[in-house]
Subunit: 352 residues, 2 copies
DNA sequence: AGTCATATTGTTATCGATATCAGTTTCCAA
DNA sequence: TTGGAAACTGATATCGATAACAATATGACT
């Protein structure tokens, strides 16, 4: 009733244009239609006559009206959000994936909620919880390791989930990724094919970076299968992997096993660090020692010598994952497989 | 009244737990309190007795309840969103800024909505429009160039705006940045101090990357002021700036002005490309030609030779911008200046 | 002319939380 | 004891949009 008084004060039905943000009701008043018609006019699919639509758009422009999606979400029960969690955005592999997701979402009307886990499942759990409060219509994760609580929340949420960048043993829902161990093993085989025999590996230690651990496992397995003795492994600290760590690790490698012929790195960044450190010490790459990376970062294609690596189509992972999510959200049932294997390619360049 | 019937059908007050997502009312029922008490219990500041809080949290856990922030936003009129637009996330300078923003927002309870403009003011305008529909409580932009429509929308929105990475002539609201031209000029002076006299510059052409244009302007101005004749400029295409462009541009530079002593680049990425290309051609850097970059990317500190550059504290820009935004959102009036100049530092290394 | 499909617009009832104000209880000082 | 502040808790009325269904107009077709 306070409302009625207010209305009276301003003149019945004449919503006050000057004060506060205009609402859809203001626009409706101004255009002489109901809010429902305004609502319809503002969506592309709305069935409204050209004439009234024009009138409404004029009113919108005149009043400077901006649709309030929070209100819309509540009543339509569709928030138009999609959540994606990546370990770090300060890593061009993952930012490429984020870009792929963004591009795939471009014309879907969905808004991306991006979060960084810092390679920590605990932080991932917290993020999942806070993301779910926004009622996203789907969620994209990196990797297959999650806390039990995180899994529970995701399962209960009832929204489609896409895990990326790995092939989890026990997937939650959809998967778009590749086998890190197998890809690394392929790289080992390719290099063995080039004649290298004494293999070294540089990578992180912790279980925190599961993809890194898988790559190391793939390295060890392949070296072993080729009968090239136990692989030589130098570990450094926790992710994020930096160039500097690669530089330090290659020094340790050379101290411990001076006759190492080729060093594979968990990431192009560490490979680059290793390469530069070798050059700084006057070593020839690949003459004195060969170096290979993982991830096909831009630098690897342009540094000197160019770095042998594996391209794992980071952008494509994001694009496919988001596409799969859209299918699951819109199409309801998904056609075909729940598992999408993404392509990868060993890229032999000059460094190994 | 339909409500009452429904209630009756299920048994008065006994919200159906098994079906659909539980709401706050379900939790309230289960815990034997009102929704208001549940609401209070779920915020840290809520004044609820320890006893009932525990009971409520148990109910939440039991029912697997997840707060719906869309509904909360509507009634509290606070969405808890902050929007940030960066030109590209696939550029470590801007992803560092994004990281700074994220970190500053960490414990504020605010959720970041991140968008990529691809260096286009048109796309920025579209993004601003769609972001505003989410009713963010503040917005962070990169750069000072915006479409008139974008400015209008921002001004009408009534939320605090922070422009970053530049000092706009006509700021919308708050600014956290530095003078791209002045910083580049400083770099020129520092290199002139090292004895270089014939200056070249590699950078983009378009007005699209205003920061790039400002840097070039600063270069030309400084070279001129030092009486070192007109600077030699090689332009390449539109952003994003790639390593490859730097490699190509340095070739053009050497063809056109073979006696160039030092080449400054709009970004470390192009500097790196130029450096590698020179090495590939057997040129000594800095012996035959010196190279400098801008932005202090990680590679510059580790490549061989290390690249002389300018650090512009990308992370700090993000952190300060978000801090400033928080002040404006919470504190209401902002203490002190609307303009925050961020620090920068010329870093002389081996390449120039 | 009458019937029915189509196009357009309106009415009503929520969506799920929180602000606000109003009770109720507790506890302590006088 | 008792008044009254402080601590809790609850009832009610929104917040601003949209779904679902209803109503009306328009026109085509038999």
């Amino acid at each position: 009733m306070a409302d009625k008084l207010a209305d009276k004060a301003k003149g019945k039905g004449a919503h006050d244009v000057s004060a506060g943000k205009p609402t859809m009701a203001d626009v409706a008043d101004y255009a002489g239609v109901s809010t429902m018609t305004v609502s319809r006019a503002l969506k592309k699919d709305g069935r409204v006559s050209e004439d009234t639509r024009k009138r409404i758009l004029q009113a919108v422009d005149k009043l400077g009206y901006v649709l309030d999606q929070a209100a819309g979400s509540l009543s339509s029960r569709r928030t138009g959000f999609v959540a994606a969690l990546v370990p770090s955005i300060n890593n061009s592999n993952f930012s490429d994936t984020a870009r792929g997701i963004t591009d795939a979402l471009e014309n879907s009307g969905l808004q991306l909620l991006l979060g960084y886990t810092d390679y920590s499942t605990e932080k991932e759990e917290k993020l999942i919880q806070s993301m779910l409060q926004r009622r996203p219509e789907g969620i994209i994760l990196t990797g297959g390791s999650h806390t039990p609580q995180a899994r529970r929340m995701l399962e209960k949420s009832g929204i489609p989930v896409v895990e990326t960048w790995e092939i989890p043993e026990d997937p939650i829902d959809h998967v778009v990724g590749f086998s890190n161990s197998e890809v690394m093993a392929d790289l080992v085989r390719a290099l063995a094919g080039r004649g290298y025999r004494k293999f070294g590996y540089i990578g992180g230690t912790t279980a925190r970076d599961t993809r890194g651990s898988l790559r190391r496992a793939g390295f060890l397995k392949a070296v072993d299968e080729l009968g090239l003795g136990p692989g030589r492994v130098i570990s450094f600290g926790v992710p994020p992997i930096s160039i500097e760590q690669g530089a330090q690790a290659v020094v340790s490698m050379l101290e411990r096993w001076p006759d190492t012929e080729v060093v594979l790195c968990v990431s192009d960044l560490s490979a680059f660090g290793a390469l530069m450190e070798c050059q700084r010490r006057g070593m020839k790459v690949p003459g004195d020692i060969a170096i290979a990376g993982f991830g096909d970062y831009e630098i690897s294609a342009f540094c000197h010598p160019r770095i042998t690596t594996v391209n794992v189509d980071c952008y494509g992972i994001g694009k496919l994952a988001a596409g799969r999510l859209l299918q699951a959200i819109n199409g309801g049932g998904v056609a075909g497989d729940e598992l999408t294997l993404t392509s990868y390619k060993v890229i032999l360049r000059e460094s190994a």
